[in-house]
């Protein structure tokens, strides 16, 4: 984890001081990691007309910090202090009440309605010392409340980890609608679902461009299936690759220089590299086996993929410029859908285990070490990393129909995030958008 020095504005005192080293939490998969117990009492309504905003806002914040995995959000029913009465600033808070319920951190938020806007003032305190660690003032249209609270949550997490969290990111997926499949997006917490590509055809395998402007996908709209992309802001689509046979499973290089995908124009599915607009295809695999599912390393120099050249599907890694593939997985006989972590240290994949159930694993591409992330909960497939590498989204049949779930990078804290009816598959976590 990057331990960059983060300057925290100690508002009120007008002082700037470097955060103490102990404010940083180790990464979730670090042996020293333990979730940081944090209390998030109800937002305090300042003035009138903000009761509904306060109610929704605190739910968003608790949910965000809960999904993040780094925190244990303490049960509000256990709180001793009355959030309606207690103040929002250090001098007005009885920290003993918070220490006594096990809190190490305390988030206090005041919220007001100002015309059409919501105005938030959030403070993060160290419960033991009463020190104010963070002050965030945010305002915007009331209908953007969720976005505002996500920004506050991002600031809180960044204080502890030094990097932005994913609360302002989106997840793309394929959704079954009337026997066909649409390409849709939703916020990382499952809210704000909207479909970008609904054309009464089967549309599959969405993949984000690195800056989040486009979503690549595969579609049967004009036969094929062909590779397309849709501009997220406008919904405009254009055809990227329509060679004979399959044009599927686009993955964009993180540096924006190229895309990789599977074509079968030579009568066998092979991995190709292309320019981001679908021109200049270069064949990277040369083997009479199925080769599919490319995923780029974070430095854009290597590509992980699936090949059944050994007789059954396994994960391999190949230089993006072309060259000999190296086998990465040696356990199991049905390993698929690699997704290389943004930190480079793990490749997620899903595997069929000895009981013929599909579960999610990760493999270290250098050492070959394998860790299991899901077990005994239906079939779990198509894992995709969050841009900070702390979380994983995947689809699971644990509740019947396939739905989308998020878990921490170590497999803990699994929860359903998709909210609608219908079958959700092929989730991919989108990139960070520019920080506001």
């Amino acid at each position: 984890m990057r331990k960059i020095a983060l300057l925290v504005c100690l508002a009120g005192l007008g002082l700037a001081a470097p955060a103490r080293a102990q404010d940083y939490l180790p990464p979730i998969d670090d042996p020293n990691f333990r979730p940081y117990p944090i209390a998030v009492p109800s937002f305090k309504e300042l003035g009138t007309g903000a009761a509904e905003l306060a109610k929704e806002g605190v739910e968003v914040l608790r949910n965000d910090l809960g999904i993040a995995g780094s925190f244990k959000v303490l049960d509000p029913r256990s709180y001793l202090a009355d959030p309606a009465k207690e103040g929002l600033t250090g001098a007005a808070i009885n920290f003993a009440d918070w220490i006594n319920v096990g809190a190490e951190g305390l988030v206090k938020v005041g919220i007001a309605a100002s015309g059409a806007d919501a105005v938030l003032e959030g403070r993060l305190f160290d419960a033991a010392t009463g020190r104010e660690l963070l002050l965030a003032k945010l305002s915007g249209p009331k209908q953007d409340l969720r976005r505002l609270v996500h920004q506050l949550a991002d600031r809180i997490v960044k204080h502890f980890t030094g990097v932005r969290s994913v609360f302002s990111t989106q997840i793309a997926f394929a959704k079954k609608i009337k026997g066909n499949k649409a390409i849709c997006v939703m916020d990382f917490d499952g809210h704000g679902e909207r479909c970008l590509v609904t054309n009464d055809s089967i549309n599959l395998l969405p993949a984000w461009s690195p800056e989040g402007r486009y979503i690549y996908f595969s579609s049967y709209l004009k036969g094929g299936p062909h590779a397309w992309r849709v501009e997220v802001a406008t919904g405009r689509t254009n055809l990227i690759s329509k060679q004979r046979g399959l044009n599927i499973g686009v993955a964009a290089a993180p540096d924006g220089s190229a895309i990789a995908l599977t074509l079968s124009r030579d009568d066998n599915s092979e991995i190709y590299r292309m320019a981001p607009d679908g021109t200049k295809p270069v064949r990277l695999t040369h083997n009479f086996a199925i080769d599919a599912s490319p995923s780029w390393s974070p430095d854009s120099k290597k590509i992980a993929f699936v090949s059944e050249r050994s007789g059954n599907p396994q994960i391999y890694v190949l230089p993006a410029a072309g060259g000999d593939p190296r086998r990465v997985t040696f356990q199991g006989n049905y390993n698929q859908t690699p997704d290389w972590s943004p930190r480079g240290d793990w490749i997620l994949f899903n595997a069929r285990d000895e009981r013929l159930v599909y579960d999610i694993f990760k493999v270290n591409p250098d050492s070959g070490e394998i860790r299991r992330l899901t077990q005994d909960q239906g079939n779990n497939e198509h894992p995709s990393w969050s841009p900070d590498g702390n979380l994983v989204v995947f689809n699971s049949t644990r509740a019947g129909e396939s739905k989308l779930y998020v878990m921490s990078a170590d497999g803990t804290n699994q929860r359903m995030i998709s909210r609608g009816s219908g079958e959700y598959t092929n989730p991919v976590w989108g990139p960070w958008t520019p920080e506001k």
């Binding site: 079954k176 026997g179 199925i290």
Partner: protein, 242 residues
């Protein structure tokens, strides 16, 4: 129409009585007569759904009119009341029958709509569009595109059919069960379609007549998650090209 005429005639008759008697006789049960006439006005429309009650109501009406003509007003009054009650009963029975029929129809429509919706959502497979008779679906083993003895026999049958129908062009669709990844299954489905096509070509079918497409796990023949359903879904299907 006939009832209206009868009513006019009866009215005229009563008027004549009244004139003859030099005043309205108090004993003529006029409200009962009117009520019975209104109640029996649509007996024709009821005779199909409550035939026995309609017949009884008509008989009662006739009898009451006879009594009225005979100036047996008290008995006539009872008769008209009975006729009205019988006609009302017939109407009730018809209403009930009609409502029951409407309910049944509504239920049937709702069931049809639900089935249609379920099919649209992909929960129930649409009845398979009839492919060219004689072209049979070929099945495959798990994670395999290799032909079995059974699938070779099926393809020989298909080749024979294609030889007999020389103008026919078909699309060979490769499909998988829904286990395993979307992408891998698209590749595997294509291999199945290719294997079927290749064997047909070996049996003498012109390759130009055979297009291939892979649907991976997207178009199951059976949406269930049982081994039987999986086995039916690992297949190559043949669709006539127009």
């Amino acid at each position: 129409m006939r009832n209206a005429l009868a009513r006019l005639a009866l009215g005229a008759l009563l008027a004549a009585f009244a004139l003859a008697l030099g005043g309205c006789p108090k004993k003529i049960p006029q409200p009962e007569i009117d009520a019975a006439e209104r109640a029996t006005a649509d007996l024709d429309a009821l005779k199909d759904c409550a035939p026995e009650l309609v017949t009884a109501a008509r008989a009662a009406m006739e009898k009451a009119q006879g009594l009225l003509a005979a100036e047996k007003y008290e008995e006539a009054k009872a008769g008209f009341l009975a006729a009205k009650q019988l006609a009302d009963k017939a109407r009730q029975e018809c209403d009930q029958k009609r409502k029951a029929a409407e309910e049944a129809e509504k239920k049937r429509q709702a069931e049809l709509a639900a089935q249609e919706a379920a099919r649209a959502m992909g929960d129930v497979p649409a009845p398979a569009p009839a492919g060219p008779a004689g072209l049979v679906t070929v099945l495959f083993e798990f994670n395999a595109a290799e032909l079995t003895d059974r699938s070779r026999a099926d393809l020989e049958q298909n080749a024979e059919y294609l030889r007999a129908h020389a103008a026919l062009r078909v699309q060979v669709e490769g499909h998988c069960d829904n286990r395993g990844s979307t992408e891998y299954n698209l590749a595997l489905g294509e291999r199945r379609a290719m294997a079927a096509r290749q064997f047909l070509v070996k049996l003498g079918v012109d390759p130009e007549r055979l297009e291939i497409i892979s649907y991976g796990e997207e178009r199951p023949a059976d949406p269930d998650s049982t081994e039987e359903a999986f086995a039916r879904n690992r297949r190559a299907e043949f669709r006539e090209l127009r």
